[in-house]
C-alpha cells in the first residue's frame, strides 16, 4: 500500500486507470482525463509506455496458448443430447420468447440452424473483407521492381488496433505507413498486414514494427511470417 500512498492522490488515481486506458475500456470521460494527465505529466506518460508493453505481451502470451481440439465440441454436444427436454419458458418478454424458441429446438436441429447462420456470417465477412482488400490494395506498399499479388510474398506483421481507434484513424494510419491488410480479422481481432511488398531483413522489419507500435492506433503489433 505504501507504493500507492507515496504518490499524489490525483496521479495515483489516474495511474490506476492506465491499464484500462491501454485496453480502451474506459468511459469517454475517464479516457479524456487520462489523456490530459498524460499530456502534462511526462513521468505518467513513461509509466503508460510500460503499461502498453504489458498489454502487448499479455496478448502475445495468450495468443500462443492455442485452442481446444474438436473433441471438446463433440463432447459438449454429446452431453447436450443426453439433457432432458427443456421446459417451456413462462416469460412473456421478447428475450424470454427467443430463449423459449431456441430451447424448444433439439441440439441437432439447433446445430444445423447454427451452421447455416455461420455460413451466412462467413459469406458476409468474406464480402466485407473483399471490399476492404479492394480499397486498401491501391494504398499498399509495392516496390516498382517487384509488384505482387501473391498473399504469401512480402514482409508481414500481426496487428490489433486500439479499441478506441476509429475506422477513419485506422485508414489514415494504414495509408500513412503504406500498409495493406493481407488477412483478417482473425481470432482476437488480429489482422495480418503487409509491411513491404518484398521480403526485408528481420532486423529492418523489427525496426519498422517498433516504430509502428508507437502509434496510438496500434493496440498490439508483432512481426510474423
Amino acid at each position: 500500500m505504501n507504493a500507492m500512498k507515496q504518490e499524489a492522490p490525483e496521479r495515483q488515481e489516474i495511474e490506476e486507470l492506465l491499464p484500462w486506458h491501454a485496453a480502451g475500456t474506459l468511459s469517454r470521460r475517464d479516457a479524456q482525463r487520462v489523456e490530459e494527465a498524460l499530456a502534462r505529466d511526462p513521468e505518467l506518460a513513461r509509466r503508460y509506455a510500460l503499461v502498453r508493453e504489458e498489454f502487448g505481451e499479455t496478448i502475445h502470451l495468450n495468443e500462443t496458448l492455442g485452442a481446444p481440439s474438436p473433441r471438446a465440441l463433440e463432447k459438449l454436444f454429446a452431453k447436450i443430447d443426453t439433457e432432458p427436454a427443456r421446459r417451456p419458458a413462462t416469460s412473456f418478454n421478447l428475450g424470454g420468447r427467443i430463449t423459449e424458441f431456441f430451447a424448444s429446438l433439439s441440439p441437432r436441429t439447433l446445430a444445423w440452424s447454427a451452421s447455416a447462420a455461420v455460413f451466412a456470417i462467413l459469406l458476409q465477412a468474406g464480402l466485407l473483407a473483399n471490399i476492404v482488400l479492394k480499397e486498401t490494395k491501391t494504398a499498399g506498399y509495392e516496390t516498382a521492381s517487384a509488384p505482387t499479388t501473391d498473399p504469401d510474398v512480402g514482409a508481414f506483421a500481426l496487428i490489433r488496433f486500439a479499441p478506441q481507434a476509429s475506422s477513419d484513424d485506422i485508414t489514415k494510419f494504414l495509408e500513412a505507413n503504406k500498409l495493406s491488410i493481407a488477412a483478417g480479422p482473425m481470432a482476437g481481432g488480429l489482422y495480418k498486414v503487409r509491411v513491404a511488398g518484398t521480403g526485408i531483413p528481420k532486423g529492418e522489419l523489427a525496426r519498422i514494427v517498433k516504430k509502428l507500435q508507437e502509434d496510438k492506433v496500434v493496440g498490439f503489433i508483432a512481426t510474423t511470417e
Binding site: R46, T58, L61, L65, G66, A67, P68, T99, V118
Partner: protein
C-alpha cells in the same frame, strides 16, 4: 449454441487454461462451461455482456476444478508448462529480449494476479466487468491490478530488467 461456441470457445479456453495450467483439464472444462451456458441460457438477463457472463461461469468451473485437485498435483504443474508454448525455435532465439522476459514473468504471477491481468489486457474487461466476474468491489479491482503490475515489475527486476517503476 454452435455459433456461441464458435465465437467464444478459444477465449474462454485460454482464460481457463491460464487458471488451471493444464491443457487436458482446460479442454474438459470447456465442454462443462458451455453445457452450463446451455442450461442457464434462460436465466441470462442481459444485464452484462454475454462474454462477461460466460467468463464468470468459466471462472467458477476452473476454481472448482482447482479445489478438487490435490496440492501436490498443483505444485507439479510448473509454470514451464505454459512457457513451453512460447518456446518455438524463433522465440528461443529471442529468449533474452525484454518482451520474452515479460511473458515469462506473466506466467510466474499468482493465480489472482494472472487472472486480473488477463481479464483487463486480453479479455478487455472494464473495471465494472472484472468486478462482476471476480466478485470483488471495483476499488479492489483497481488495487489488485496495481499490485499485479507491481509484482510483475519485481519479477522483471529479479531477471535483471529494471523498469524504474514502482
Amino acid at each position: 449454441m454452435q455459433v456461441l461456441y464458435a465465437r467464444h470457445h478459444v477465449r474462454v479456453y485460454r482464460f481457463v487454461l491460464r487458471l488451471v495450467r493444464n491443457e487436458a483439464t482446460a479442454e474438459d472444462l470447456i465442454s462443462e462451461v458451455f453445457l452450463d451456458i446451455w442450461r442457464q441460457a434462460g436465466k441470462f438477463e442481459g444485464r452484462s455482456a454475454a462474454a462477461t457472463w460466460m467468463l464468470s461461469i468459466a471462472r467458477f468451473k476452473a476454481l472448482s476444478a482447482l479445489r478438487r485437485r490435490p496440492e501436490e498435483e498443483l505444485d507439479d504443474e510448473t509454470v514451464e508448462q505454459i512457457e513451453d508454448h512460447a518456446d518455438d525455435p524463433e522465440t528461443a532465439l529471442e529468449k533474452k529480449d525484454k518482451g520474452s522476459a515479460l511473458r515469462q514473468c506473466l506466467t510466474k504471477l499468482s493465480a489472482d494476479h494472472r487472472e486480473i491481468i488477463d481479464l483487463v489486457y486480453y479479455h478487455e474487461k472494464s473495471v465494472e466487468e472484472v468486478a462482476e466476474i471476480v466478485g470483488i468491489p471495483e476499488a479492489t479491482v483497481k488495487t489488485r491490478m496495481f499490485y499485479a503490475r507491481k509484482k510483475l515489475s519485481e519479477l522483471l527486476k529479479e531477471q535483471g530488467i529494471d523498469r524504474g517503476w514502482p
